[in-house]
Amino acid sequence: MTERVWNILVESFPKILLPGLKMTLPLTAIAFALAMVIAIVVALIQFAHIRVLSQICRFYIWVIRGTPLLVQLFVVFYGFRAGMVMSPFWAAVLVFAVNEGAYCAETMRGALEGVPAGQIEAGYCVGMSYTQIMRRIVLPQALRTAFPSLSNGLISMVKDTSLTANITVTEMFMATQRINARYYEPLALYMEVAVIYLLFSTLLTWLQRLGEKRLSALGGKEARHA
């Protein structure tokens, strides 16, 4: 590696990392939190077989899972001109939340259905209401089952945020593109941003392990073998 390339890498590192901290991570965190809310609501509606709402949920999941994320970003930002009413960042949050929500909803639905129906009946028999049973018995177990898959979704999302460069969000990838336009060192610079994505993913994987340990301490791990 020449000294010139090395200098470019050192100089560009904070310029790439900063938008990562200011855009990529907040975008992921906010969008994923919203996605979880959507996922739980959609999964609960389907689990309870609420007639018309269930069909609407099926339709939502069908559309979102059947179309590319990039296309969804373009439809919302350029098609519906979301940029007129909100910043590119919030348009991206909206699309990512709705997109990830559909995937997580399916994960959650599967996890809810995995909780033995007998425990719901037992809940009724000790006098609990449906809401109490869902909140105290079924959802906690489902979240524990779904945790690894949901973590997967979160890690994918960090990387997918690079797509938002296409709708003018100045996140890490766009920052890299701009620096590259000045110096033209594509291999070095794109490798550099790849390493930063890898750092973020590694951090999240580590958090996932920590989370799984915490959950299994609460009787979860053994419970799965029961």
């Binding site: 007998g118 425990q119 037992a122 009724y124 028999c125 000790v126 609990m128 105290r136 419970a223 029961a226």
Partner: protein, 246 residues
């Protein structure tokens, strides 16, 4: 205290229960026996509304209810006075033994936690599991899980406990501990309606036996008389197969 009149239930074309009636007084221990598929479990599930009957009347605590058209409030009120023990235990896997017992007290009955813990510990002591209070269901044997389930039913101080084949899912060596807990309950005066394959329990612990087959009651009577002198051919044949197995 409990009376069921003409309970009917069909699944599609199949009549699972064809007009079943039974009556229990406080302190009665009634065993329901009979071949699989005879409707025993469905009967129990219908009178605690885990399944809806097509028609029939339930008289509980002096109040009469239409089993096919009962409202949510009445169901909740009746369930607060009954306990149910399942064949497959159905403990909450995300709760410890103690929490399994307190859940219905703290959440459903809004009891203060300290009071609920006291009652739950007493219930666990009654089933001989005080030392397992902090164990999760997965850390307990089948027999222990079923005893926690009995403690869970017991803690709500029900007027009656329904048992749905409480020992059928257990390994043979674990059946005894559960039956002995049930025997203690019976001698303490608990009203119990027990679907069971355990003839010894039916003979020795229950004071009344109902023999069900094909969705109806074939024969019933005081347990001593029932086993000593069954009248119906169907009952005799059933008792012969059972004793041949043992």
């Amino acid at each position: 205290m409990l009376e069921v009149r003409d309970l009917k239930k069909s699944l599609g074309d199949l009549a699972v229960l064809r007009g079943v009636s039974l009556k229990m007084e406080k302190g009665d221990v009634t065993a329901i026996i009979g071949p699989s598929g005879g409707g025993k479990t469905t009967l129990l599930r219908c009178i605690n509304f885990l399944e809806m009957a097509d028609s029939g009347t339930l008289v509980f605590d002096g109040q009469s209810y239409n089993l096919a058209a009962i409202g949510k409030k009445d169901i909740a009120a009746i369930r607060r006075k009954t306990g149910f023990v399942f064949q497959s235990f159905n403990l909450f896997s995300n709760k410890t033994a103690l929490q399994n017992v307190t859940e219905g007290l703290i959440i459903a009955r809004k009891m203060p936690k300290a009071q609920a813990n006291g009652i739950a510990m007493e219930a666990l002591r009654q089933v001989g599991l005080s030392d397992r209070a902090d164990h999760y269901p997965s850390q307990l044997s089948g027999g222990q899980q079923q005893r926690v389930a009995i403690a869970r039913a017991l803690a709500t101080q029900p007027d009656i406990i329904y048992f749905d084949e409480p020992t059928s899912a257990l390994d043979p060596e674990l059946i005894g501990e559960v039956l002995s807990v049930m025997r203690d309950l019976a001698s303490a005066g608990m009203t119990m309606l027990v679907v069971t394959h355990e003839m010894r329990f039916a003979r020795e612990v229950s004071n009344h036996v109902i023999f069900m087959a094909d969705g109806g009651i074939v024969e019933e009577g005081p347990s001593r008389q029932f086993f000593a002198d069954p009248r119906e051919e169907r009952t005799k044949a059933f008792l012969r197969t059972i004793s041949a197995e043992k």
